[in-house]
């Protein structure tokens, strides 16, 4: 009977990659633990208690998820309060059931090998030298992995993570938590997310130490086969660890969001406006390369060439996480094509980036009555008198004075809807800045970016190079950069800005 109910719904392992799944719902390897997933509010909690109608709790030891199928995702959407219980590859049929029993898992002792070695020990004093992968030296692999783990922890801002998790846990254990379901949902979602991250790293650390133990054992017992196997596993971990380093760069709460990118020409007339449009083109091409969707939201053209300002919407995972590295002033040095005397000119363009928050509950609520909606660039009697394809609107949020315009949609209705979404993200960003939840430098709006805040220089004459003033990263081929090859700049900035902060570990 038990088996039947367990097998009621088997599901395929494919839809979500195992790794992303782990970070979503990392489940404990703790014996005697039943993993429970409670959605909307999305909570991952653990329990040593057994679910009442499963007769043999011991059958459920060491539950592990290895995939989430699309039909389960549908279930989650349709029955938001359903408890999903997994056993091996099976989804157990359960009904709405809430259980919270969160123990402070956070303050765990640092994991060690059987002879007391920790990851920190391995990295400290370069105990084991890191060689090329091809050197096939297990100590080198292990050291490289340990180093990655440290870097990942740093990038995840480990200390803050631990503190935050404690705070969240305290909140979660309050008996009146569910009096405010929206807040509760937010808290439990964040808890689930951070917990997932923490466990992923801890699990990875544990895995490394287990392999080290295994290797030592294999050597003691001259078990070649085991040694070879562990070597392979370590090499694989070493490669995964490198990928995880990159992933960890984008662990900010808004990083996974889509975003708006805005460019504004600096002083200097046509020359600067032309530069602004080159920069905008660079971002369009960058976004296209990344496979993001690009929509022009708003564009104010220069009188002769280029743009005064423009906004594009970049749709896709981690668009904000990457694009935020571009916030600031970009400087161009070249012989101006607009100067008949062929003199060298320096022009500036400012870039701002706004995340589009996916989670509706964290968005600022806008009151209709606080809005003033105007036809943009209107004139004349309008109505039947005029035939025009210009249907831009400007929305002013009266209490804050924040405005948004959209003119590139083909109907007024859609222009208004797009302007509203721009306004929404500006107000969200304002609110985030107020709560100081994100690093202040990314939350600057265009008007706040000071022209002194130069982040990168592009020189086309007398020599050719692009150099980031924050990281000193530079390349000698401006054309490729202007065609959207920005990854080097973005990555070096992201790692530099996070890794140099000693407080993060």
């Amino acid at each position: 009977m038990m088996n039947n109910s367990l097998k009621m719904k088997s599901f395929s392992v494919s839809l979500l990659q195992k790794s992303s799944l782990r970070s979503l719902f990392h489940l404990p390897h703790h014996p005697r633990t039943i993993a429970q997933l409670l959605f909307s509010p999305f909570v991952i909690s653990e329990s040593k208690t057994t679910v009442p109608y499963i007769p043999q709790p011991y059958n459920l030891l060491k539950s592990e998820i290895s995939g989430v199928s699309s039909d389960i995702q549908t279930t989650i959407k349709e029955h938001p309060s359903t408890l999903l219980l997994f056993y091996n590859d099976f989804l157990l049929p359960t009904i709405g059931f809430r259980h919270f029993c969160s123990q402070p898992l956070v303050a765990q002792p640092q994991p060690q090998t059987s002879d007391g070695l920790t990851v920190d020990d391995i990295v400290a004093n370069n105990r084991w030298q890191i060689l090329e992968e091809t050197a096939s030296d297990w100590k080198s692999h292990a050291a490289s992995i340990a180093q990655s783990i440290q870097l990942i922890k740093k990038r995840l801002q480990w200390k803050q993570l631990v503190v935050r998790l404690d705070t969240l846990l305290m909140e979660l254990n309050k008996p009146n938590l569910w009096d405010d379901p929206v807040h509760a949902g937010k808290i439990s979602r964040e808890h689930g997310l951070l917990m997932g991250k923490m466990k992923e790293v801890n699990g990875f650390e544990r895995e490394l130490l287990d392999h080290i133990d295994m290797l030592k054992l294999a050597r003691e017992e001259n078990d070649n086969e085991l040694e070879l196997e562990s070597m392979k596993a370590l090499l694989k971990m070493r490669r995964t660890a490198k990928e995880k380093e990159l992933e960890a760069l984008l662990s900010g709460e808004q990083d996974s969001c889509s975003c708006f990118i805005e460019v504004q020409a600096g002083a200097g007339g046509t020359e600067s406006m032309d530069w602004a449009s080159m920069i905008m083109q660079m971002y369009k091409m960058w976004a296209q390369r990344c496979g993001y969707g690009v929509t022009v939201v708003d564009e104010m053209c220069g009188d002769i060439a280029g743009i005064k300002r423009a906004t594009i919407k970049v749709d896709g995972e981690y668009a904000f996480g990457y694009a935020k590295a571009e916030v600031g002033v970009h400087r161009l040095v070249r012989i101006s094509p607009f100067d008949s005397a062929k003199r060298r000119h320096t022009s500036f363009a400012a870039v701002a980036v706004t995340p589009i928050l996916g989670d509706a509950s964290s968005r600022v609520k806008i009151n209709e009555s606080d809005l003033q909606i105007e036809r943009f660039r209107s004139g004349g009697p309008g109505g039947q008198h005029a035939n025009t394809t210009e249907s831009a609107v400007r929305i002013v949020h009266i209490p804050t004075g924040v405005t948004a315009t959209c003119q590139n949609e083909r109907s007024q209705h859609l222009n208004k809807a797009m302007a509203m979404s721009v306004l929404q993200s500006r107000l969200d960003q304002l609110e985030l800045a107020r709560q100081a939840q994100v690093n202040a430098q990314y939350t600057q709006s265009l008007t706040e970016i000071s022209w002194g805040n130069q982040i990168r220089t592009y020189v086309l004459h007398p020599y050719r190079m692009v150099k980031d003033l924050r990281t000193n990263y530079e390349v000698s081929d401006p054309d490729s950069v202007l065609e959207g090859d920005l990854d080097g700049f973005i990555m070096s900035f992201l790692s530099a800005s996070i890794d140099k902060d000693e407080n993060n570990l």
């Binding site: 690009v294 105007e374 309008g382």
Partner: protein
């Protein structure tokens, strides 16, 4: 084919004031006055034949290289840039920025590209120049279309055969007024009303007088959903066919019915039963017509624009009809030429037609012009 319509037209002399009568002379034969109104079924073969399919719906059976398209783009762009502020200063026409934007949209409609970035290939480097792209018109015609836009001031919407209006893409062609952005707000107001008052949605029929491309009727039909019923009327056979085509495209043939005839004339059976009445009738004073922007005066139908000496002929007609056709509590909203007409109408509805209406108001558009008059039948 249009001729087939004529026998089933129109007994419009009763409602139609004289100037309007003359205005119609060249459009309609004056002989017929048959009281039989045939609803235009959208599946009828008649409508299909008079309709011009918008570019974006045509099959992509032509092809050209990216290089050729770039050449066209450059040519068309410099033609547009050469206009500068000329049209704007002349008659409030489009300036070159706007023309350039239209050019992009034309390319979007004509070229078969990727969905979220249809003209993205135009920014590709030279190495892609020889790549073929599929097109919905021939290259030669494309040049011709842009020449018409600039040299003849043919409205962009007639060139591409459609107008994006609210969240709709409506087919339009010569002979049918291109719906204006201001008019979108009528649907917003109706939406607000039926959200507040469910009865307005279920208890009775909605009517759009002078439906043109069907914009208002379709917008409202979509709000009402399957339980709703909208009757849209127009005097112009082309408008009626285009409206029917658009209704069909949005699969609303069971909700929106198009009838040909003058204002309330085809609606006899609904006297006292209409729960909501919308109209954007011709309201431009006859004397202003000649001075309108070239796109309008040279290309759009006079029948859709000319509202008689002070532009109020049709509006007053409709106001009077509203008193007998709306059911008690029924709602109306009319578009006007602006403050002067709105003020006049508010006054007219409150005083001349005393006792018929309540909560009569004028409402502004996004440019701050008193564009609409709204109210309820007592």
């Amino acid at each position: 084919m249009i001729l087939n319509f004529f026998p089933c037209l129109i007994r419009y002399s009763i409602f139609t004031p004289l100037p309007l009568f003359f205005k119609h002379q060249n459009l309609l034969p004056l002989s017929c006055s048959i009281n039989f109104i045939k609803p235009i079924s959208s599946s009828s073969s008649i409508s299909a034949k008079t309709i011009q399919v918008p570019l974006f719906l045509k099959p992509p059976i032509y092809s050209t290289t990216i290089l050729e398209l770039k050449k066209f783009q450059n040519w068309a762009k410099s033609l547009s840039l050469s206009i500068g502020l000329k049209f704007l200063n002349l008659d409030n026409g489009p300036e070159s920025n706007l023309l350039c934007r239209e050019l992009n949209w034309l390319l979007e409609d004509v070229v078969e590209g990727e969905e979220d970035n249809p003209t993205g290939f135009l920014t590709l480097g030279c190495s892609e120049n020889e790549r073929l792209v599929r097109m919905r018109v021939e290259m030669e015609e494309l040049y011709d279309l842009w020449k018409q836009r600039i040299e003849e001031r043919r409205p962009f919407q007639y060139i591409v055969g459609c107008e994006h209006w609210r969240d709709l893409v409506l087919s339009v062609q010569e002979g049918v007024l291109i719906p204006r952005p201001e008019t979108e707000l009528i649907v917003d107001m109706v939406e607000e009303l039926i959200l507040k008052d469910k009865e307005m949605k279920q208890q009775g029929v909605w009517v759009d007088l002078g439906t043109g491309s069907g914009a208002l009727a379709i917008g409202i039909g979509r709000l009402l959903g399957n339980e709703g019923r909208v009757i849209a009327t127009d005097l112009s056979p082309i408008a009626a066919s285009v409206a029917a085509f658009n209704v069909q495209r949005y699969n609303l043939q069971d909700v929106v019915e198009i009838r040909m005839g003058s204002w309330f004339e085809p609606l006899d059976e609904f006297k006292g039963k209409i729960v909501g009445l919308v109209s954007n009738p011709p309201y431009i004073p006859s004397g202003d017509i000649a001075g309108l922007q070239a796109e309008v005066v040279r290309h759009e139908p006079k029948l859709a624009l000319d509202g008689g000496a002070d532009g109020l002929d049709d509006l007053l007609n409709i106001c009077k009809g509203a008193a007998s056709f709306l059911k008690p509590g029924g709602f109306f909203i009319f578009e006007t030429n602006g403050a002067k007409q709105s003020k006049y109408l508010v006054n007219f509805l409150n005083i001349q037609m005393e006792g018929s209406f309540q909560y009569v108001n004028s409402v502004s558009d996004f440019a701050g012009i008193h564009r609409f008059v709204t109210g309820f039948r007592k």
